[in-house]
């Protein structure tokens, strides 16, 4: 039979590092083929080879049974391949239609025929069920819609095989579901989809065939029906990883964080956090569950001093946090692992030691009389690399050269050693490998055992199930209910996350 795409013995080296080693991949026409693996397993490299962005050192590529050398993306596009990159490449000041036809503008007498472009965009949008407003400017559109535009761009170039690199990393669950439906309809149309991900649930939900990569090699290619989630994890990580609830001693520490009737507005000045009241005790992990965008970010920002509260109070060890600057709140003992790690948590272009210095640049032993002792900082970074098992060559590595999981470990390392006894942790494992996720969970449990009070915000119920002592569910800025972590009922939480009144849900406390 002919395959839409067939790779044989692909090897790609970067200097001494082998990113892909003898990879065989055969994608049948009309299927959704998922390629799964941890960060650094070689997924993106492989797709860049297929799309002509990188040249393989060894191996052959066939498209629709025809062997060929794909030495540029133009060749790949000609052969009906289309790629939707993880980071969108759109021009914000142009309209949707202009973006879609950028580089292949429809022309009439040498001028761009905007009306025809809009017409074509509408037709494509209709045909594939990807709703966009062709004449809207891209600036200000949500990432979900931006992704639709990227897909339309690929479709406008007559792609029959579509490659998506980590398409759901930036989407809300609702947007992800819409995307999967779209992909399904492509396949029903006879098109082929190659879907790169490290997100298990998604891969299990949407794909027909799954290829697992580990350390640049194919460890398995199987139909989805033959795989379970646990097996998939073992193939990806190379060992068993537990998602089970972590064993724990029950500690009844004193109350560290007391929040009462706390309100805050979002960037559009609308109430985003409404009358939140709860407390966190020492040695306790309180989880905040909810679909992204239901006030969790605002809660974290208010507590860390990055956003003004419009009303209410939040006391840390009896001292009011509302109205304090981020620096004052840090001094009171709150450490914050931000949800938007790359913008807030690190300076991507700075060395690890520079990143670890943040917040302590005036404090002994890192600085004396306002002069930084870089030797001490470097030594501290080396010690943290060891203690938190950060995969980096040394303190001079630039943050952006690390994988998402390791960047997160750098943030955790800095915040957990800042001396605060209240940890505010926002989305600790977003975009993080399963292996690294386990290590991060271990570290959070260790912090709990040391008696820290922990507020854990996560959109992943699995994570809260494994870690939290109590789970607070938020919907549209309000606390819908509180559930005990030991006896939690996922359906009840799901209902509360969807905004169903918890009167018929068993309440705890």
């Amino acid at each position: 039979m002919t395959f839409a795409v067939e790779l044989k013995g692909i090897t790609k080296r970067f200097g001494a590092f082998t990113a892909n080693s003898g990879i065989d991949l055969a994608v049948r026409q009309g299927e959704i083929h998922a390629i799964i693996g941890e960060n650094g397993a070689g997924k993106t490299t492989l797709m860049n080879v297929l799309f002509g962005l990188l040249q393989p050192d060894e191996g052959t590529i066939s498209v629709n049974g025809k062997p060929m050398a794909i030495d540029s993306p133009a060749v790949a596009i000609n052969e009906g391949l289309g790629m939707v990159h993880q980071h969108f490449k759109l021009v914000p000041s142009l309209t949707v239609a202009d973006n879609i036809f950028l580089g292949m503008e429809i022309r009439r007498r040498g001028l761009i025929d905007r009306a025809a472009q809009v017409e074509r965009t509408r037709a494509l949008s209709q045909k594939f069920g990807l709703k966009v407003d062709a004449q809207e400017r891209v600036a200000g559109l949500s990432v979900g819609i931006e992704q639709r535009i990227e897909i339309l761009k690929v479709l406008a170039r007559n792609a029959r095989t579509i490659i998506l690199d980590e398409p759901t990393a930036v989407l809300t669950p609702q947007e992800s579901r819409d995307l999967f439906q779209t992909l399904r309809s492509f396949v029903d149309d006879g098109m082929t989809v190659i879907f790169i991900s490290h997100h298990l649930e998604e891969v299990m939900a949407v794909s027909d065939t799954i290829t697992v990569l580990r350390d640049g090699r194919v460890v398995a290619t199987r139909p989805k029906q033959e795989l379970t989630k646990r097996e998939l994890v073992r193939l990806m990580v190379g060992r068993d990883v537990s998602f089970d609830r972590r064993p724990r001693h029950i500690v009844q520490g004193e109350s560290v964080l007391e929040i009462e009737d706390l309100w805050a507005r979002d960037d559009r000045r609308l109430a985003a956090l409404k009358s939140a009241t709860f407390s966190v005790r020492a040695g306790e992990i309180v989880g905040i569950a909810g679909v992204a965008g239901n006030g969790q970010t605002e809660l974290a920002e208010v507590l860390s001093g990055l956003r003004e509260a419009s009303h209410g109070s939040a006391k840390l060890h009896g001292k009011e946090l509302v109205g304090c600057t981020p620096a004052e709140i840090r001094d009171l003992g709150l450490a914050h692992v931000p949800g938007d790690r790359l913008a807030r948590g690190v300076d991507r272009n700075a060395a690890l030691s520079t990143n670890i210095l943040m917040g302590r640049q005036k404090k002994a032993p890192f600085a004396k009389n306002g002069i930084i002792n870089w030797t001490v900082v470097q030594d501290e970074m080396r010690a943290l690399i060891k203690r938190f098992d950060i995969r980096a060559r040394g303190p001079r590595d630039v943050a952006r050269s690390l994988s998402g999981g390791n960047i997160q470990k750098v943030v955790l390392a800095r915040e957990f050693t800042a001396g605060g006894d209240m940890l505010l942790i926002d989305q600790p494992s977003r975009g993080v490998d399963i292996g690294a996720q386990e290590a991060i969970h271990d570290e959070i449990m260790r912090q709990r055992a040391e008696g820290r009070a922990i507020l854990l915000i996560s959109t992943q119920l699995d994570e809260l199930k494994a870690l939290a002592d109590r789970i607070i569910v938020m919907f549209e800025g309000r606390i819908m209910g509180v559930v005990d972590g030991n006896t939690m009922d996922e359906d009840a939480i799901g209902l509360m996350m969807a905004g169903v009144d918890p009167s018929d849900v068993k309440e705890d406390e």
Partner: protein, 351 residues
């Protein structure tokens, strides 16, 4: 590494920039050929004009001084994420303030210099304080506001000079400053003065500040990752304001040194373009104060050399401006290409 006194990969940087210079000079040669001059003669004249003898070298350094100090002012801004395009205006006001103290007050020798320089620094800082306030309070783009402030500064100092201090029938200039306010000269044969040493010291001090001071770290972080800095407890607005103020203060200092050391009075249009040349020197040095020493020296040599060019050849001084522009284009292209290589991991020279 951006926190290093001398950046990592220095050799690669220098090689790239050297190549850029060669490309720019070759293009310059073509243009010189177009005006029927020999490029070699022009370049030799330039070199002779800039470095021909001790006097010429001193002349080059004399031109380098204000460019260097303005360059440092720009570096301070760039490191803190602020694009101070108003150095020219700060230079004019600083120059005027220093001259005013110089001729209007009689003070003991050493004290007179200190007071005049201090007033120049204050004038520069005060002039940038307005755009700086609007930047941190209302988010006004500091590029636009500082550019506009330049026009006001230049015209304001002209107004002061012509309507308040000009001798009837004389040039558009203030009375000369008292000798007690003259900056000490380094050599008997040139007006080259301790301003150059101040500039060099300032360059090293600024580099050390950003490398080792806690406050320098805070400013660097605000410049490179403002959201991270805010999250880490740094007062982004306060630091941004301070950075612009410091940048303006150094700009004012440059003007003070120019009037006290070179002209000994304030003249209308006394320092054409030094502020902008300084900004470009800082940009070419990628915001490194140490690197700015060399880029400023280069611009100083071009300016000094072009004086002889008009005397000895038929090429006009403007040809130097053209070559300067070519160099800026070539060097910034080199910078862009290197950044491109960094970002994708794999170096891709094709566009």
């Amino acid at each position: 590494m951006k926190t290093a006194l001398l950046p990592d990969g220095l050799i690669r940087t220098l090689a790239g920039q050297a190549l850029a210079f060669v490309v720019a000079l070759s293009l310059g040669a073509v243009i010189i050929l177009m005006i029927d001059e020999s490029p070699i003669a022009v370049f030799m004249t330039l070199m002779r004009g800039a470095f021909g003898d001790a006097e010429k070298i001193a002349g080059t350094l004399l031109q380098t001084t204000p460019i260097l100090i303005c360059g440092i002012a720009a570096c301070i801004g760039l490191r803190g994420g602020m694009f101070n395009v108003g150095i020219e205006g700060q230079l004019f006001l600083g120059g005027f303030a220093a001259a005013w103290v110089g001729f209007a007050f009689a003070l003991p020798p050493f004290v007179h210099i200190i007071v005049a320089v201090a007033c120049a620094i204050l004038a520069g800082a005060a002039w940038v304080a307005i755009p700086a306030y609007f930047r941190v309070r209302y988010g006004t783009n500091e590029v636009v506001s500082t550019i506009l402030a330049n026009y006001i500064a230049v015209l304001l100092t002209s107004y002061f000079t012509i309507f308040l201090f000009k001798r009837p029938g004389g040039w558009s200039e203030t009375p000369p400053i008292l000798p007690t306010a003259y900056l000490p000269e380094l050599f008997s044969f040139s007006r080259l003065n301790i301003g150059l040493l101040i500039g060099l010291f300032l360059a090293i001090a600024t580099a050390a500040f950003f490398r080792w001071a806690s406050a320098g770290y805070a400013a660097t972080m605000v410049g490179s990752a403002p959201k991270f800095a805010e999250y880490g407890g740094i007062n982004v607005r306060k630091v941004g304001f301070s950075v612009l103020l410091a940048s303006g203060a150094v700009g004012g200092l440059a003007g003070g040194i120019e009037t006290l050391g070179v002209h000994h009075r304030f003249m209308e249009g006394f320092a054409p373009g030094f502020g902008f040349d300084g900004l470009i020197a800082a940009l070419l040095a990628n915001g490194s104060p140490i690197g700015t020493i060399f880029t400023a020296l280069f611009f100083g040599a071009l300016r000094a050399g072009s004086l002889l060019l008009e005397v000895d050849t038929t090429a006009s001084r403007e040809i130097i401006t053209v070559i300067q522009a070519l160099i800026i284009l070539a060097v910034s292209a080199d910078l862009m290409m290197r950044r491109r290589g960094d970002r994708t991991g794999e170096r891709r020279w094709k566009f």
